[in-house]
Symmetry: C2
Subunit: 355 residues, 2 copies
């Protein structure tokens, strides 16, 4: 997209902020010439960083925010900090000064502030946190990753519809397959919420995309394009997979450094090994999106570096340039609720989204 | 242990049963000269298999059982099949003809039949499924892996005590550290059940071993020796980790076969790579134990091979030779309930186990 657009960036979120953030924006700017960044945070610290970096200078506008939301801050406290960098960045989206926001700060605060300031899209009960993960058969979208620790069938079905829209618009898939994460693939496995959600999906307009239950190993196998689960399980699964990959990565590093022969071995197999390392690099999958909000909100891992932060910016750019939210809004408006039809929509609840 | 002992083995459980089972016992027999196996299943199929294998012949006694519990059988149906190989094997433990049972069959049926026939130890509310997993800092015990999909604080605390006993007796650790799996390490993270369980553990006699909350990536990092979670999350986490390891393993195989140079590279780094492969081999971690039952019950993965089944037998042998259940029974008798002290013991519930 050649049309310019602006992303608000919380410059103070993340373990190595703000340096990492400014460096990350410089990397992202090269990939997205149309992007402008509203860099929100402590002006006195940000101005010299931006001045030192030609590429950042060309795309960043600094907006001062005196406060920072700590990583261990309670949501209730975060909601009161009107001068926090995260808050000012989100306010910029609500005011129309930016099309999306990226932050590597406190996840709970980012979700709560986004819901409070930007609001949830009409028809969406609860926004979900989604991310792209590597699998043997290509990218997999998984949600929820921690925005909603406990979920009812309605939430899970909504996540399936949000994930479907995300996979279509951002990944460009035409009929992405959907799996519901469970402890077994048989219909009678799992607890009531999951079985009820599966029943609704089987009777919905995306029934032909619904693969049924999938298990933990199906995520990396890429059995389905989309994996749906509650936020507690999704968060644990995401981090468990990342941990397992890190374990192997560390072992391989040790092995290839252990002797002259091993070092030579690495050198000979280098092209494939380096490709795998790049492909599985967690930084490449950095950037979780909150789906279902009235604006683009991307959460970067707090411990990431500039390269990882740039990937989170990529995700926000993808969401904006693919007009994800506009399409989602159209989808909600065009069709009535799957849940209402299925009887899962309780009176008083807004109708479910649909395509 | 030189003293001979007998394990009852469900010869008909598992995708490649009964051949895989008999071969697995032959492998295990070499490692455990004192072990005798009561091989339960279709006599007409088992006798020739045993007759064909000298090592199996020396340690196996075939006991006929006409039926097999299918993998998709409902628990209610399984409970009625008195002639099933799994049932007859469990009956042998209850009758004192064997000190433990190993099965690669239907997990739900194995748990239900074990609870029904062998019974839960007095003082234990619900048995848990535990397994050993590889980590950067050595073996980690994780439970529950699927026996209890939803857990209250009392269950989680009980799992911590069962895991502690397992790590002490079977892994030989003196003061194993315990982590409670959550979506963050901060005290205010997660849902009520986990926070309440953490509160109880912090006030218990194993408080000094309690590390607090751990996250998904802490499993492979080996942050704690024991990871406690509900059966739903544990099952998903276990399989997600296995899936991630399989993904890397498959990629490495492709890389090292992709060119002559890569093949030579593998050859040069071979000793380390092969060591890693053996160390992370899921078969080496095959064999989940049901802790809290009045006998040793080990569940092998249904899709494993003879080598994997032999590892499940190893686990059962370890449990029997380390007299896990006797020690657990002593522990329960010797001390009163952590839960009763903490106020979590509801009236009518049996007192909690303790050391």
């Amino acid at each position: 997209m050649s049309e310019p657009f602006t992303l608000a960036v919380d410059a103070m979120g993340g373990d190595q902020a703000p340096d990492m953030v400014v460096e990350g924006l410089a990397i992202a700017a090269e990939r997205h010439p149309g992007a402008r960044f509203l860099l929100v945070g402590d002006e006195a610290r940000l101005q010299p960083l931006v001045a030192d970096c030609k590429r950042a200078q060309a795309c960043c506008l600094v907006r001062h925010a005196p406060d920072v939301i700590a990583n261990d801050a309670k949501v209730s406290a975060a909601l009161r900090m009107r001068g926090a960098s995260m808050r000012v960045a989100i306010d910029a989206v609500a005011a129309g000064h930016a099309q999306g926001v990226v932050s590597a700060g406190n996840t709970g605060a980012l979700l709560a502030l986004s819901k409070f300031v930007i609001k949830t899209l009409p028809g969406i009960d609860r926004p979900a946190m989604a991310a792209i993960m590597p699998s043997a058969r290509g990218d997999v979208v998984m949600l929820d990753l921690g925005a909603n620790l406990a979920c009812d069938p309605r939430n899970l079905v909504e996540f399936a519809l949000l994930g479907d829209m995300f996979a279509r618009t951002v990944l460009g898939l035409t009929a992405p397959t959907i799996g519901l994460l469970n402890v077994g693939s048989e219909e009678l496995k799992g607890h009531d919420q999951i079985r009820d959600a599966a029943d609704i999906l089987r009777r919905s307009h995306i029934a032909c995309q619904f693969h049924g239950f999938v298990e933990g190993h199906d995520i990396a196998a890429g059995t389905t394009d989309i994996v749906i689960t509650d936020g507690f399980t999704g968060n644990v699964a995401l981090k468990t997979g990342e941990g397992a990959l890190k374990l192997v990565n560390d072992l391989l590093r040790q092995i290839f450094a252990s002797s002259l022969s091993s070092k030579l071995g690495y050198f000979l197999a280098r092209s494939g090994l380096d490709q795998m390392k790049v492909w599985l690099d967690p930084r490449r999958y950095n950037g979780a999106v909150f789906l279902g909000l009235n604006g683009v909100v991307v959460k970067s891992h707090g411990g990431t570096d500039a390269e990882g932060f740039a990937h989170a910016v990529d995700v926000a750019v993808d969401m904006v340039t693919h007009r994800f939210n506009e399409r989602l809004r159209e989808g909600i408006g065009r069709l009535g609720g799957v849940l209402a039809q299925s009887g899962a929509g309780k009176p008083g609840l807004t109708p479910a989204i649909s395509r």
